[in-house]
């Protein structure tokens, strides 16, 4: 136990914890996105899916697990950022990106800030949806929450739709560095693997951000 603690507290271990928790959250995002696709099948499909999910007794332990992973990711990343700031007490008068083989990008330079904004977004998102208004679906199975109605009602407001799209762009920027970087932290590297994972990470970041952002845009323009 003491060894494990030492291992995860070291600089390398810290990055491993951030990578593993980050990848777990990324995996959750994929499941979430797949679930969201039910909206395109209509109200009955989405509400049915939501009802199936919350009726499962495993959903509460899963939510607690997810929350823990999220908090570990946030805590370790914030601590790491704080320690790293102290590694250079006097900053350069002039510092440029080295380019050449460097992987530095907008995502990698803003991880802590995009991360902080995503944290804020998640809090707003959970309170707006999970703990948001409870609509009964009209003339449909009573006791089932009309998630579809809630989604449509929320995103018909251009402020909500715009806010979601903006936050999802930030999430994409965060993932653009995060996905590929996680593999490097875990020591997964190879002459063919590394270029492939960098490309896949980039594409997945775009797919995730665009996939989620499509829903508010679709609701606003097609159902509005």
């Amino acid at each position: 136990m003491a060894t494990l603690w030492r291992a995860v507290s070291s600089s390398v271990g810290t990055k491993v914890v951030i990578a593993l928790s980050g990848l777990a959250l990324f995996a959750y995002l994929i499941l979430h996105l797949i679930g969201n696709l039910f909206i395109f099948l209509g109200p009955a499909a989405l509400n049915g899916w939501g009802h199936t999910l919350i009726s499962n007794p495993l959903v509460v332990p899963a939510e607690i697990g997810l929350l823990l992973i999220f908090l570990i990711h946030v805590y370790k990343a914030a601590l790491n950022w704080w320690d790293n700031r102290h590694a250079r007490p006097t900053s350069y008068a002039e510092k440029k990106w080295a380019h050449h083989t460097s992987r530095k990008n907008v995502g990698s330079t803003t991880m802590i800030w995009t991360g902080a904004l995503i944290l804020l977004f998640v809090a707003i998102h959970v309170s707006a949806f999970k703990y948001g208004a409870f609509y009964e679906p009209p003339a449909w199975e009573p006791g089932v929450r009309d998630l579809y109605g809630l989604v449509v009602h929320t995103f018909l407001n251009p402020l909500w739709a715009g806010f979601y799209v903006a936050c999802l762009v930030l999430a994409g920027v965060h993932l653009r560095h995060g996905i590929a970087s996680s593999f490097q932290s875990l020591g997964a590297d190879g002459p063919r693997f590394t270029p492939a994972i960098m490309l896949i990470g980039y594409l997945l970041a775009v797919v995730i951000a665009a996939g989620f952002a499509f829903i508010p845009v679709w609701v606003y323009f097609r159902l509005g």
């Binding site: 070291s10 390398v12 790491n80 790293n84 990698s108 330079t109 875990l186 020591g187």
Partner: protein, 252 residues
Amino acid sequence: MEKMTIHLRVWRQAGPNAPGRLVPYTVENVIPDMSFLEMLDVLNEELIAKGEDPVAFDSDCREGICGTCGLVINGIPHGPDRGATVCQLHMRRYKHGDTITIEPWRARAFPLIKDLVVDRSAFDRLIQASGYTSINVGGAPDANAVLIPKDKAERSMDAAACIGCGACVAACKNASAILFVSAKVAHLGMLPQGQVEHKHRVVKMIDRMDDLGFGSCSNEGECEAVCPKEIKLANIAYLNRSYLTARFFGGL
């Protein structure tokens, strides 16, 4: 030969705790064939002639092999050339009238001594932490007694090219020494001779690196891009793998 006038902004700081600032200088009659350090030598001779304190900077071999020189030039450690140290940089890279900003390596683990000179003995502490390697002595072994796959030998040799200049720390936004540590770990760990202490070496070096006040790795690869010996980021992944294996399966 055409002579150039070069404007400099040089970090001057009298001592570790003295306040520092960028001081403007102008060097006339710079010959394009001069090396960057020769240009600084010319500046220093002028300063000495005027009775001023010359700019302190480090150099030794001036042929890119010792790792003593190290300046951040216009925001990039070792300047604009790839795979080269400051002493290998020449003034033909610049034009008449250019302004060049020169700063020291900046990291908590590399405290400033004077002007552009920093104390890089933290790297020596890391090498000390890495410990020893057990090598058989005695009669000369047969040439092929220990077989080493070609790719392993290559990777080890590539990592061994590290000259310990500290540009990786200077370039890293977290002032992390991990590229340096990974080069040392890969250099020995890739070879059968380095295996005996491999897992201990990895754990001790990482522990020491954290104690010395270096930051952690953000996987940006600015270090690799400025490294005069082009040490690869792949070594860091190897180091991470080695560390995890040593901690979780190596009983450390």
